[in-house]
Symmetry: C2
Subunit: 412 residues, 2 copies
Amino acid sequence: MQPDHSSRRQSRRWFLRLGAAWSAALVACRSRSIGPSSEPRVLGAPVSPYGSRSGFEKATRFFNRDTKVPLEEASSRTPLHDTYGIITPSSLHFERHHAGVPELDPSTHTLTIHGLVERPLVFTVDELKRMPSVSRIHFLECSGNSGSEWRGGSFDSDVQRSHGLTSCSEWTGVPVATLLRECSVKTGASWVLAEGADACKLARSIPMSKIMEDALVAYAQNGEPLRPEQGYPMRLFLPGWEGNANVKWLRRLKVLDRPAMTREETSKYTDLMPDGTARQFTFVMEAKSLITRPSGGDTLPGPGVYEMTGVAWSGRGRISGVEITVDGGSSWTPAELQSPVLPRAHTRFRWTWTWDGREALFASRCTDETGYTQPTVAALVNVRGTSSQYHNNGIQAWRIAADGKVSNGNRG
Amino acid sequence: MQPDHSSRRQSRRWFLRLGAAWSAALVACRSRSIGPSSEPRVLGAPVSPYGSRSGFEKATRFFNRDTKVPLEEASSRTPLHDTYGIITPSSLHFERHHAGVPELDPSTHTLTIHGLVERPLVFTVDELKRMPSVSRIHFLECSGNSGSEWRGGSFDSDVQRSHGLTSCSEWTGVPVATLLRECSVKTGASWVLAEGADACKLARSIPMSKIMEDALVAYAQNGEPLRPEQGYPMRLFLPGWEGNANVKWLRRLKVLDRPAMTREETSKYTDLMPDGTARQFTFVMEAKSLITRPSGGDTLPGPGVYEMTGVAWSGRGRISGVEITVDGGSSWTPAELQSPVLPRAHTRFRWTWTWDGREALFASRCTDETGYTQPTVAALVNVRGTSSQYHNNGIQAWRIAADGKVSNGNRG
């Protein structure tokens, strides 16, 4: 009999009760007959040129189909509840497009570097791929991730809907510093405009200091060429900085002596403060963590011992610690960080929880190597109000009811 | 005009000459007009549930179609020349099947643990997924990788054909030690037989010490469930040990007081020595490295400065160093190791080479944290003869001719 293998259903059957409850699980295991299950006795499928996942697996990116936002200008979210480790499968990396995914031919697409340089240059994709390159494992997060939590979130939101705009990949590319040195940057150059080749020509101004520190023109992701929805054949990659500044389908870098004040850094992607002014160029994604299992939408079968797990990351470097509360923030205990703990990358954490069967509010909070600790949403609102959509790195609480149902704990 | 985007052609256009030759490249770049290339002015594709690679990308696993070996009992090889960083895309992970890829239903497939245990247990996939898990980035290598080099290899072999039976992924699963503790292993237990659910029921005996040290029942790879050709829904994973022992489609672990002496550890997967005896249970994949670019099949356009890159790994731990020779082994200089350098994982190395345009023999050799240094093939042959197919971790030399053509340098 073919069961329902929907992502939702699979994901809600995650939990094993250990300890006291573990005995019951063992009884269940023992009660089955020991012996082979029905298995194939004929040859299976042959080797193949390029593999694909099992037809039994159905996890997908989530996007809202019932909205007036065209799907070419929408976002899709990583199923954090159903992913493992720190690498996000490229096929499930979140998306955020402003004019859809262009189909660019790598044999004709070029990157132009011009503006305040002695020697403007045009690079083909092949030329870039021949240059000295680096690979690094980094998260990428949309600045709008968990934006709904500014206003307490939705009661029925789950971790994919609330926090699925973060993913983590191994990115390979050429340091932009290498390219700019070849162009001989002129005196006074202090910003670089990065422009994409999508129909809206999305553009952001990036400070020269970041460009020279660690910016990449990335052409590969998780060992193979960038996926189309991640900017194929090349994108700007700015470790730890908000997603939209990592311009996809990169076609142009113009060296400037001031920011270009594009639409995406004036009317969009600024943070409206309570006094009516707006924070601008708030690039860094601050330290953030969340428990992905158990999380909103789960139902625990009863009191017992459970493994909690989740991810933490910081745009300023390595995660130095993650703590867990199961009493609404009164007390915190350290979770185990899984190695490797890499700078500006998702860090997987795990913790063992004995749930006594009573209503509880549980959450994680992280600290990064600069000593900064993830704040509460209330602390953020206290400073920034509730008019901003962006840069909500507040603690995400989940509430478990006595019946085992888990829901968004950020709602008062 | 649509160019030929075959994997082979792409891969042979990798090189950039820096330094003196770099000036010519800059002239080439400058000679193009500065301005937008032809790019879309209409909306692109919408967000999607599960992404796929660009239609322009054609890299594939290699397998020989012109052989009497059925493709259900064959191997396919990772295009090491066309992959980046340390993560191998799951779709391009090498394969080696003995009876094809079975289609197993995760709702009915089970893992039985029995033999010398107090409590035999049967686990469903869901039960395993609820248990405390770990994720680790590790290489997996077939013991037959670069087996052709025992006899000098083929003149026209490239790095995919000669060495493509190694790949590296992030694996997630449950420590086997956790499962065995729940079964209460009896006194005298010293080996574990692992058996797959493929039609041939491939089986290997694994020493209890390895099982308890770091063996996993792995159910995820690179953030999502195992691919079918990697053992979906679960496989044994033995960090640093030869591929075939990492039994795929795992159905049974039987605890024993001696090895089971299966076909795959008696007539197969043993190493025939010059005196007619055979080494048995040679599980560990010793330290190994190779230059993937440039490598056999490449043609360098002329003298100049080139970036060399490749991968190194050791079944005994971390790589501590990689050295490069460009004079046939007379002198060696250190390459740069790219972080993170993880135990029992591919480590990416890079080195800058000024080629003077004359014939040369170039190669890499690595040393691991135990102090062991990768030997020459000649040194291996001196001890083991040429009757073995397996465990050739010798230095792989490439020869560049004066016309820039690169070929297998292991041929005398």
